[in-house]
Structure formats: structure tokens, C-alpha cells
């Protein structure tokens, strides 16, 4: 603390004041809504409007009739809740994990927090907020940029993971060093997605780890790759953009294990890799262990 510059101390004090004000606001609410976690401590998941809700029909209006008609349409229908989108079960699962954590640790601050992150116009936002309330989703922060790409705003909301339908935005977010993923809805799967367990699978080959290994395979072939992996077995793989999110998940999992809830833990993680387990798996597993992940 004594090494901090005066400006840093002031910023921290201000941040604390702002959080206290928010806490006071929520504690004074008459509803039974659980108080959201402090943004700095939370695992913040930013979801776009099109993955939270089904905006397929509205999107058509936007594409064929233009933005003015699209906004007018949304305003006209703002009291009609939207249908759930691809991220809906995910959001419900996050809420379940939070409820379970709070039950075990009543004053828990390391929780998931969801932000609605959209480049929609604020007037469209009314329908989005009405829909959030209709489904009783625990979302207490939003960012409606009115047209600008929301990528520049992710860090301001302390985002740990960004979910969008738009692959370009996802690529942009990863380029900014923020974990991100595209979500889309394969029709049949939607009804099968669990909302009482958070089930996350990581593609160990490309997504988790840096491109270093991938490049070796492409340039020098698989044999060279295996030799490389063997030689560097004890050197952790360089971090990919999703490492931080993985670490956060691991931290929350351990909270359940600490209370002997390993079997009942609502967070389930799966590592998927196309590489042969014996040869390259060792380096992968050792890396994960070094990141505190089981």
C-alpha cells in the first residue's frame, strides 16, 4: 500500500466509495433480489443481446428495413418479452452456481456477474430490460453503446468473458486480451442444455494454449511437434486468452470442494483435445495443474 502513487490511492478510494454506494442501494431494496458481487472481485461475463435473447426476426427488420425501422419496431413492442437466446441456459446455470455458492458462503464476493453488453440503441434497451425482468434474470449492469462496437467497453466493465453471435466481435475481443466465444443455437440442442449445472468444455489444442504448438505442427509436421512437446514437457504452455477465465472457474470449483461438495459441484469442466493423450497430454495436464486447475 505504501508503494502506491497518490493518484492510485485516490482512484482506489473513489472506487471503494462507488461500490459502497451500490451496496447500500441494493441492501435497501425491498425486493429479495440477491445483491450482486463487487465488479472487481466477480467473474464478469458480458453477453450480447442476440445471444441472451432470440432476436432473429428483429434482425431481419434491421437488415432489410434499416436501423430506424428496427428501433421503432423494438420500441413499439417493448412490453412484449423476447424469447430466450443461445446463452440463456448458460446464464441460468451461472445463477444456479451463484445461489449454491451463497448457500455455502453467505458473504461470498467471488461470484459470477452478468453484464448485458450490446451496441443496441438505448431505446431498444427498454425491451431488453423488460425481458430480463420477465425471466427474473440476475443482471444488474448493462452497456448500450447506441451503435459503437462494445469491444472498447469490455475492460471498463471488468469483463472476464465475452459472448456474442458475431465472430468478428469475438476476434476483436480476443485481440484485446479478453476471453471471448461465439455462441449460436443449433436448434435441437437448445432444449437439452442443463441450467442447474455449468458445463464448460475447453478445446485444449487451439483455444486454451497459445499458437506456439499449432505453428510447429503446421510448419514442421507432427513428429517435430511431439519432439518439441517432449523436450519442453516441464515448461508450462504460454497463456492463451482464455487462461484467466479458466483460472476463475477453477477458483470457484475449489470453493465447492472445500465444503466437500466435489460430487455435487455444479461446475463441470471438460478438456477436449485431438492430440494423443500420451504424448502431448502430459504437457497439457502439467500446465493446467500449474494454473491450479484440476
Amino acid at each position: 500500500m505504501s508503494d502506491m502513487k497518490p493518484s492510485e490511492v485516490t482512484a482506489e478510494v473513489e472506487e471503494e466509495k462507488e461500490w459502497e454506494a451500490a451496496k447500500a442501494f441494493f441492501d435497501n431494496l425491498k425486493t429479495k433480489k440477491p445483491r450482486p458481487p463487487k465488479p472487481r472481485n466477480a467473474v464478469t461475463i458480458a453477453v450480447s443481446s442476440r445471444v441472451l435473447f432470440n432476436l432473429v426476426e428483429e434482425r431481419k427488420i434491421f437488415k432489410h428495413q434499416g436501423v430506424e425501422q428496427y428501433v421503432a419496431h423494438q420500441v413499439e413492442h417493448e412490453n412484449e418479452p423476447l424469447q430466450p437466446g443461445p446463452a440463456f441456459p448458460f446464464v441460468k446455470a451461472l445463477m444456479t452456481v451463484n445461489d449454491r455458492l451463497r448457500a455455502l458462503y453467505p458473504n461470498e464476493e467471488d461470484l459470477f456477474d452478468i453484464v448485458l453488453m450490446t451496441n443496441n440503441h438505448a431505446q431498444v434497451g427498454v425491451r431488453l430490460i423488460n425481458s430480463i425482468n420477465h425471466y427474473d434474470l440476475t443482471i444488474e449492469r448493462f452497456c448500450m453503446t447506441g451503435g459503437t462496437s462494445p469491444i472498447g467497453y469490455l475492460k471498463a466493465y471488468m469483463t472476464n468473458l465475452y459472448l456474442s453471435k458475431d465472430a468478428r466481435k469475438v476476434t476483436e475481443a480476443i485481440g484485446e486480451g479478453i476471453a471471448a466465444a461465439t455462441m449460436f443455437m443449433p436448434g435441437e440442442m437448445q432444449n437439452q442444455l442443463c441450467d442447474t449445472q455449468l458445463r464448460v468444455a475447453f478445446d485444449g489444442d487451439a483455444v486454451l494454449f497459445s499458437d506456439e504448438s499449432e505453428i510447429i505442427v503446421k510448419q514442421k509436421g507432427l513428429d517435430e511437434f511431439f519432439a518439441h512437446e517432449l523436450a519442453y514437457e516441464n515448461l508450462p504452455l504460454a497463456q492463451g486468452p482464455l487462461k484467466c477465465f479458466l483460472e476463475a472457474l477453477g477458483k470457484l470449483q475449489r470453493k465447492f470442494y472445500a465444503k466437500n461438495e466435489r460430487l455435487e459441484c455444479p461446475i463441470r469442466t471438460f478438456l477436449v483435445t485431438a492430440r494423443s493423450a500420451a504424448s502431448s497430454g502430459a504437457r497439457v495436464l502439467k500446465t493446467l495443474r500449474s494454473w491450479g486447475w484440476r
Binding site: 451500490a22 436501423v67 430506424e68 438505448a122 431505446q123 449492469r141 451503435g147 471488468m158
Partner: protein, 254 residues
């Protein structure tokens, strides 16, 4: 006693067609007159852009309107060197419709005489004085200088805890309503995209329902905000550097 000088270089706006914004000399050129570009500089440039676009609409517009800018000079030196003030603003390419020269004590009379809808200053005492006379006022801080010069960005913020006195500086309820109504009409002249004027709503620590309420209240007052941010306690500083508003006004209570 002060007086107001009309700037003959700039085409005047009829009072029924004007949204009058007064800016203090200190905000434009610095408190000690040391700045070439004070914190209000980008703001005035952005106001000019809005006016240019409004001009373009004139032929098809049944209710033409312009933003009228009045420069408030309360310093004796400025009074004695009026020509210099005018020359300086011209040299900087600023479109000032009127210059008001008065003392610190009676500049508020000038605000009333010139039917000012909004007074902007870097001096919080001046803002309080104006607000006490019922004129809607806002204090500009150094961040205002970070605003863009091609678009005017006005932020409504209902719950800024860093300005506990902000509410008292703002002016009468009626003054607010009149300003919101005029501003809303100007915003509506432009489409959803490509507007030279952007209205932003920020809620620091209330929930999404409170922010949604403020959004609706502004709509009722004639203002359709373009962007809305509900921070839920996340630090304001981070988002403000991205949002870059020229100035902040209070949002309506629920």
C-alpha cells in the same frame, strides 16, 4: 452593470429559434487566461458542428433552430479589451453569437437578459450563483477537454456521488424542463445514426430498473437518449474515459 455585444461576424439567431448556451471566458481560455484552448474548446467546436448540420436541414425544416453561444466575460481586463476578446475568438475559429461583459456580481443578470438556457463554467461558485437565479448550470471539469470536436456528447447522470452539491447547482425545475424539451427537439431532427448530437445516460450505483426508469422519464420530457450505461458499482473512471462527454447534467428523479 454589464452589457452584451452582438458579434456581427456571426449570423444571429432569432430568440424563438435559439437554444442559448452561455460559456464562461475562463472555460474557453483558462482561469488565468493562459490557455490557447481551455476545457470548453472541443465543446464549442462540437456545438458548431451541430449548427452546421441544423443549417443543412433548414429548407425542409418547419421549426428551424440553432444553438446560440454567448461568451460570459466577468473579468475587468476583458471588459477593457473587448476588441481583443472578439479578435481572439475569431482567430481560434470559434462562432460566438454574443459577448457579455459584466462584473462577477451581476453576470447572472446578463444570463437572464440573454434568455440563457444553459450556463457552462469551470468555476463552481459561478455555477451556484447562476443556479440560484434559476438558470440551469453545469460545471466543466478537465475531462470535458477530452470530448470529441465533431460530435456534441451530453451525459445525464442521476447518481454521481462525487458531486453531492451537483443537484443544488443545477437550476430550477422549470429551467430543466425547458432545456430538455428544446434539446430533445434538436436531437429528433437527426436520425438514429450519424447524429452530430449524442445523448448519454449513466447510472453509477442504482440497479437496472432505476436506470430504465430514468430512461423513460427522459423520454417523457422529450429526450430519447442514444446510449445508456448501468454500472452497478463498477468504477466510473474507467467508463468515463471511454464515453468522453462534454458535460454532465442531472437525470430526472424516478
Amino acid at each position: 452593470m454589464g452589457d452584451t455585444v452582438v458579434n456581427t461576424d456571426v449570423k444571429q439567431v432569432g430568440s424563438e429559434n435559439a437554444l442559448v448556451i452561455a460559456v464562461s471566458h475562463g472555460a474557453v481560455f483558462g482561469a488565468e487566461d493562459e490557455d490557447v484552448h481551455g476545457v470548453a474548446f472541443p465543446l464549442l467546436q462540437a456545438v458548431q458542428k451541430v449548427n452546421e448540420r441544423l443549417q443543412q436541414l433548414k429548407s425542409s425544416d418547419s421549426e428551424p433552430v440553432q444553438l446560440e453561444v454567448v461568451l460570459i466575460c466577468t473579468n475587468r481586463a476583458q471588459q477593457q479589451q473587448r476588441d481583443q476578446v472578439q479578435t481572439r475568438t475569431r482567430a481560434q475559429g470559434l462562432q460566438i453569437h454574443k459577448f457579455s461583459f459584466s462584473c462577477e456580481d451581476d453576470f447572472t443578470d446578463s444570463l437572464l437578459e440573454n434568455k440563457v438556457h444553459l450556463f457552462l463554467t469551470t468555476n463552481s461558485d459561478e455555477a451556484t450563483q447562476a443556479a440560484n437565479k434559476g438558470v440551469l448550470s453545469a460545471v466543466l471539469d478537465p475531462e470535458s477537454a477530452c470530448g470529441p470536436s465533431e460530435k456534441l456528447r451530453i451525459m445525464f447522470c442521476g447518481d454521481a456521488i462525487s458531486d453531492p452539491g451537483a443537484e443544488s447547482m443545477s437550476g430550477s425545475r422549470q429551467a430543466k424542463q425547458v432545456f430538455w424539451s428544446h434539446l430533445g427537439k434538436i436531437r429528433q431532427k437527426f436520425g438514429v445514426e450519424d447524429s452530430p448530437l449524442t445523448l448519454v445516460l449513466l447510472s453509477s450505483h442504482g440497479g437496472i430498473d432505476g436506470c430504465c426508469s430514468a430512461l423513460r422519464s427522459l423520454r417523457t420530457a422529450g429526450l430519447n437518449v442514444d446510449e445508456a450505461y448501468c454500472l452497478g458499482g463498477s468504477p466510473r473512471k474507467l467508463i468515463m474515459s471511454v464515453l468522453r462527454p462534454h458535460f454532465l447534467l442531472g437525470a430526472p428523479e424516478e
